[in-house]
Subunit: 256 residues, 2 copies
């Protein structure tokens, strides 16, 4: 399996034909997986916004005031408003905003970026990243497209690449019922390959001004296994989400 | 960047020299990252156990009884005892056991596997996976070694490869203070590259009886960035962990 970045992608503007820009720069094969950073998908879809587009309501002002108290830096209530508008549920409102976006992804600040946003204050995630992936895939010789983002997670430090949209492949490969080396049936193993592919792509794309938002994975073999399209957990079965429902942040707690 | 599995690794037995088995099968370069599945590290370290090695105390019996009630299958109290003995904290005891292992990793059942364990009932994770990684690295021409496992996570379905031990490289690359494409300093971006490498390796290793527990990553460039060795979060700053402290599972909650 091989991963390489597509070189010389220009600065992406609203309305750009991302698939054409990719096609012109790389000879793709049908079984390639093309991983595209959400940043550039958002740019082509015109998801650049200004803080002034989000006049803050009372809820956003309350949230921003609480967050401003926590550290010394003033938080912009318009930013909180943008996060609320991009979300269907607020899982945590202090010490940061953890929400479920309209398409099911749980992340901090609804994935709104304030980096790599020339020409605006904010870059919102694509509205329906799997539809974005399908639109790009249609115009590419490669059969599989993943839209990626970078985000943090509980229990482990740092951020890693994740898939937020995908097309042309299942989200997971399902090893249940396969035999292990001891001839024993495996019980619980569903391997989320799109997140693993996104993580791998992020090693090549990086986070800075490297300018490599498109990474091709060549030679990945899904194998002859059943697939599953489940990717974002529902509340049922997501016990951490259930725990967060009853919890509120106490700045004293958990300090040494 | 390229990933390939090391072929023809035999069934690993306690005491086997894993580094020698790898060295004989692949021409490694100094800048390769060698990802080794915890399964085979555990086997060389004799971490195979029988349920009878863990006579259940009252706590384990209580836990197993509660778990048995939840679904129809009888849970073995000796298994709960093994999980408790491998852990320093129980984060969730229903509907499954989520614990912090002695080396800091948060996972279900303390990462104890019941698959791919010829010759025993249980395979425990290596005691100190970063020391295991260092021991293997010392005997390899490659400078970087990661010990991997597969585990699930909140919010997202399925499992993915993660790093539980590493040597010869930082856990994360720290983009803070670097400039983005807009000349803006990036604030919060710490990229956990060892987890991303482990996820990538898992795409090649798979979960079944494929027999590819060792994957080489060639051509990964850490780049000229500061590194951080933080990998497992402390309670302070891990709000999900704090939320789990006050929570207990209610089988009715979260159901449709
Ligand atoms: N060529 C090019 N690269 C971009 C553009 N926008 C972002 N990038 C690069 O894409 C990569 C990922 O950017 P990032 O902001 O981390 O995207 P995210 O992970 O989807 O939030 C970085 O290497 C950026 O330099 C663009 O418009 N053109
Ligand atoms: N050659 C060989 N492969 C093994 C052995 N044990 C496990 N594997 C393979 O290593 C891969 C990962 O195994 P798995 O049990 O998922 O390891 P884990 O992710 O560390 O828990 C699979 O392809 C297994 O078939 C062994 O002793 N020898
Ligand atoms: Mn982003
Ligand atoms: Mn990123
Ligand atoms: Mn395991
Ligand atoms: Mn595995």
């Amino acid at each position: 399996m091989e991963l390489f970045a597509v070189d010389d992608i220009p600065e992406i503007e609203p309305g750009d034909d991302l698939a054409a820009l990719i096609r012109e720069r790389v000879d793709l094969r049908p079984d390639d997986v093309v991983c595209v950073a959400s940043t550039v998908v958002s740019k082509t879809e015109g998801r650049i916004a200004d803080l002034d587009d989000f006049p803050a309501g009372p809820r956003a002002r309350e949230i921003a005031a609480r967050l401003s108290e926590l550290d010394d830096r003033e938080k912009d209530p318009r930013f909180a408003q943008a996060v609320l508008e991009e979300s269907v549920e607020l899982l945590m409102e202090s010490p940061f905003l953890l929400t479920e976006t309209r398409f099911g992804h749980v992340g901090v600040n609804a994935g709104i970026d304030r980096s790599n946003v020339p020409g605006g204050d904010l870059l919102l995630l694509p509205k329906r990243p799997s539809e974005s992936a399908a639109g790009i895939q249609e115009e590419l010789p490669a059969d599989q497209v993943i839209v990626t983002d970078t985000c943090g997670r509980p229990f482990r430090y740092g951020q890693r690449g994740v898939a937020i949209g995908w097309d042309g492949m299942p989200a997971s490969r399902d090893w249940r019922g396969q035999l292990d080396r001891d001839g024993r049936e495996m019980g619980v193993t569903v391997q989320n390959v799109i997140d693993e592919l996104a993580a791998a792509a992020n090693l090549v794309a990086g986070e800075g001004n490297g300018g490599t938002p498109v990474v091709v994975v060549r030679g990945f073999e899904f194998g002859d296994l059943p697939g599953s399209q489940n990717h974002f957990r529902e509340l049922e079965g997501d016990y951490v989400r259930q725990a967060l429902r009853g919890w509120s942040h106490n700045p004293q707690e958990g300090e040494a």
